[in-house]
Amino acid sequence: MKLTGAEIIWECLQKEGVDVVFGYPGGAILPTYDAMTKYSKIHHVLVRHEQGATHMADGYARASGRVGVAIATSGPGATNMVTGIATAMMDSSPIVCITGQVGSKAIGTDAFQETDVTGVTLPITKHNYLVTKPGDIARAIREAFYIAQSGRPGPVLVDITKDAQQMTCEFDWEAAAPRLPGYRPTHRAPSSEFARAAELINSAKRPLILAGQGILKSGTTAEVLKLAKTAGIPITTTLLGIGVIPASSPFNLGMMGMHGEAWVNEAIQQADLLIALGMRFDDRVTGNLKTYALNAKKIHVDIDPTEINKNVPVDVALIGDLREVLAEIQPQVKKADHAEWWATINASRGDAAVRDIQSLPDSGHLYAAHVINDLWRLTQKRDTIVVTDVGQHQMWEAQYFRHEKPRSLITSGGLGTMGFALPAAIGAKFACPEKDVWVVVGDGGFQMTSCELATAEQEGIKVNVAIINNSFLGMVRQWQEFFYDKRYAATPMTGPDFVKLAEAYRLKGLRCNKRGDVKATVEKTLAAKETVVIDFVVEKEDSVFPMVPAGADLDKMIRRPKQDVMLESGSDKEWEMPGSTLPNVFAEAKAEAKALNGRGKAARASGPARKTPKSAKSNRR
């Protein structure tokens, strides 16, 4: 069958089972858009910015586990995709980006809207292709889909010249099967390693499972819970692991890391065995590597060999797909309950356990934590996906919204991309139209991609946008408060009237500034047919606790104020800096991490001690 290159693109997408693509047209991709009119089975969503297209493809992929597709033109269209591609790369999200390129004869001439897109995206894609002949399109797209979703997933970009789209050639799907002799998506650890791992698990007194996004990718929630139950092992999750273990499971201690639960970080430092399952020891998870979990042996299960010993040296590495690894290890694990270890952990939970902020009296102030916790309560019975942006609201969501199911939280973890939430939520809604999709976003991040409200309106889809409006780039403000003596450089921020903005897009806008109104606002939102934007006007200078300052020891946390600010706001409350002096948190961490790997300059002696304790924290504006 003779087809144009453009038609071949759509044939391939159809054969790959694609039902929706997110894109934006332009000169170099125009032949493909023209051919689209013949392929009505694939729905095209016109975005308002190509960054949005990539985040939508990403959100679609994270919600469904299938490959998300984004399309853009050459030059500025393609470079606008960079942030979204890097976001997908960091969090191993399978997306395929198709970009138009100038005609093959014009390549290298600085032609109109020419950019070396494969060059630009080389370090932020799992793989990419420049296709200059129609006959190469099918194989490139097939390989792109295969690479994107196999092994450790990730973004793949296919850059196709305009002439390749226009010329015709024979379309042969079978002949275009992937031929990738050097691609090794998965591996198998030698059985000797399994025996060593089982031995470590069976002899541990204080084991702890670190549950990461790999569990979600491999769909092994049940298998992990079985392992935990057999050997009585507590579980903690990373940010991207939230939801893979139900929040209500008695084995789930909560999140680890920078804004993780204090008792979790303490447990990590006390554990004698860490079983890392599909997580990559991000620096937000480990804090100071020099003092990280020194009492513990480590077993690291990961599909990607480059993750092993990257940040944390491990005792046993089980490289492979979690599903296979867990199936092989489970029969070798002996029953245990570790009652003593559980008692230790439960003791350190103390009064911090179950932050039941619901029972706190209403102080007349609206706190983000309240909004998010109420949102969880009010939507508990519904099938909900929450998509968060980046900042304080993201951490509060992680702490106060209890996720019971995998893929019920979608967030940019590794790259921390502000502006991710709204477009990713639109993508998630296309993947799961039957679910409620909530956006929890800061006033700052919302303004980065709020143009996609128009996309939601044009598509007639409903996402519920909860803006946690603190009139600040809150997370940065918090760092300034803690580490820069409250010099609020460039963090106070104004914005439009979000209610009117929603209305300008012919959507519904609501405002809520009282705790007592949260319920009614959420109910109104759920009842509305269209996308709703809620402006939750919250306390301006609230902070996320606990916090491990970047590069500090994991158990040296800035703790939540003794008396909860949410109880009695407006008065000055002391918050505690960790007891020991902090390292110079902004410079040392990376150098130390590198030195630990033995590849980098030797770590400098830790910098000047920071002033501590800090002055009182004011909650007033």
Binding site: L122, P181, A189, G598
Partner: protein
């Protein structure tokens, strides 16, 4: 830190050298030298990369190389019996008085004179990178007009087993005693 010599077999496709080089930059490793050339198999190129790093660092480099889709196989020759060769061209300043001395040094290093004019002698010297460095050191006092080194190329000696799997997942089965049996068809 020590010099590690890695061999990577790569598919001979556009941009592949860029991918390899970019990897070293991105992962913060310094390349001492990198050479690339053909092999006996069509469509397969061979890279020799010398990188200054620790043992753990070398494993990270190796695993990252394997992760590149166009990389077919990686061998770390650092701790294997291997041959390493480099070629240097050195243009040395000579006068009627020093010409004989320089020629004598060329003889000692088993180098070859490839060009001569009234003011210079150009010498081709092959051997280990250390030998070439030594030659450079010895002739420097006469004045080096121009010099170029190709970078090292390496090869395992004899029937040393080579692995086709990244570190940590290698098993006995991954070590092929007959290297010609490894399929690297593209």
């Amino acid at each position: 830190m020590a010099k590690h010599t890695l061999i990577a077999y790569v598919e001979d496709v556009p941009g592949v050298l860029n991918r390899v080089a970019s990897l070293f930059r991105r992962r913060n490793f310094n390349i001492d030298s990198l050479t690339v050339g053909g092999t006996d198999q069509p469509g397969v190129s061979r890279l020799t990369v010398v990188v200054d790093t620790t043992e753990a660092g070398a494993r990270i480099v190796e695993a990252n190389l394997y992760k590149l889709v166009n990389v077919l196989r990686v061998d770390d020759l650092t701790h294997k019996a291997s041959l390493t060769r480099e070629l240097g061209l050195v243009k040395i300043k000579v006068s009627p008085e020093t010409r004989a001395q320089v020629l004598q040094l060329v003889e000692v290093f088993r180098a070859r004179v490839v060009d001569v004019d009234e003011k210079t002698i150009t010498v081709e010297v092959t051997g280990t990178p250390e030998k070439i460095a030594k030659f450079e050191l010895i002739v420097r006092p006469y004045g080096i007009v121009e010099m170029v080194r190709t970078g090292a190329v390496s090869m395992a000696r004899g029937h040393e087993p080579v692995s086709s799997a990244p570190p940590l997942v290698r098993t006995a089965a991954d070590h092929h005693h007959d290297t010609s049996g490894i399929s690297m068809s593209v």
